[in-house]
Symmetry: none
């Protein structure tokens, strides 16, 4: 029982939620480790949405709204952490939601699709084929879903898949707390923020942005700047801690 006034209440509750998801089979064990990795980077950016992350979130919304065929790719961690937030983003953006797993089994796909559906997501679940230029199970996706996407939101993505999607000329929006990761560097735009803070901000911007703002945000997109700003935030915090 974690007391609600604990300074790290939110973070500790999230950890418990993920441990439960792992026991239920929604999350791969490896997903717990990946989450820990994210926690450390979140700690370093101060567990808050920075100014540059908010700009990235608003630009991501503009990209989704301007897309012909926007897709949100959901894995086990994303489903366990943010199923209702994904449902709200789907409503605000009109994007297709498709389950894609690194540690793929038919059973896990089914469990995650059920979890998303219960949270109000309309899940795109046609027949999956090996369509991405990747080895093993990461190649699976659906012809009319991710494969056809022009803009794709990949929260918590593996670097290889992110690079493969970019090479297929898709605009890839990553959510990744590590601004140095291959995913962060390969993506068209990287949101360096924690998932449950980031997704509602993207949804809010989807509801708010007018056409002029959308176009302005998309035309000024500069991922190098966004990543440099995230790194600068971490450096400032480290300096404060070591002083």
């Amino acid at each position: 029982m974690i007391p609600p006034d604990h300074p790290r209440y939110r973070s500790l509750m999230t950890r418990e939620r993920l441990a439960a998801a792992a026991r239920d089979g929604v999350l791969a064990m490896e997903g717990l480790t990946a989450h820990g990795r994210g926690e450390a980077f979140d700690y370093l950016i101060g567990e808050r949405t920075t100014g540059s992350a908010l700009l990235a979130e608003r630009t991501a919304a503009a990209l989704l709204l301007s897309a012909r065929h926007p897709v949100i790719s959901v894995n086990g961690n994303t489903a366990a952490l943010a199923a209702p937030e994904i449902a709200a983003l789907q409503k605000a953006s009109g994007a297709i939601v498709e389950v894609n797993l690194f540690h793929r089994t038919e059973e896990r796909v089914r469990l995650i699709e059920e979890l998303l559906t219960r949270a109000g997501v309309e899940v795109f679940s046609g027949t999956a084929e090996r369509l991405l230029p990747l080895s093993h199970d990461r190649a699976w996706c659906r012809r009319d879903g991710m494969y056809a996407a022009d803009v794709i939101l990949v929260p918590l993505e593996d670097g290889d898949r992110c690079e493969a999607l970019v090479k297929m000329n898709k605009t890839v929006i990553a959510i990744d707390l590590n601004p140095l990761s291959r995913t962060a560097r390969a993506a068209s735009i990287t949101i360096v923020d924690e998932l449950t803070r980031a997704v509602p901000e993207i949804a809010r911007a989807c509801r708010e942005l007018d056409v002029g703002e959308r176009e302005r945000l998309v035309s000024r997109l500069d991922n190098h700047y966004l990543l440099a700003e995230a790194i600068r935030e971490i450096t400032l915090r480290l300096r404060a801690c070591s002083g």
Copy 2:
């Protein structure tokens, strides 16, 4: 199922090894998340032993060799990651190896002691008592083991236990990749390095150091300097990546 051509193959394989240890009951679920946090900091120091970490490792060896009653405390993560390395360090240092768990059950203690024994460790496994000034299961240790130690190596330790051991006037050697953690700040000396790199370096130094070098290293121990250097390494790497 991780493709061997994946650029982060080693890190991902380690993650799989830990996931297997969690399924076997050696590792608590929380141990997987803790490992992920360590991964992030290892990434930030460049997944290598820095100059200041090597100095810390040599000083740790000097402390173990100069001790009257040196003890190595082993938890689930340490056993899953580095059982053979702990066996080699025991041989080089003459230290007692004792299992101490944060998420303690008799079954997990037994599993970990078996795992260590198979790896060649001589496990100190007398009757445990509640001897440390801590609530709950973390208080357990053995009167002629950790309780009597003057120098104790605690890889991957919890902050509360580290502080309690320091208050008992023990010289505490921590291995912790996060130079900002309470453990890192409370310990007598903190090795900011990854476990499977750190333990063999300590063992190597145990075999190499002569008495003069030992005394020189111990007299010059300055943990504030070691932590500041670790933070500086991270900052430099972040700056290089953002440049």
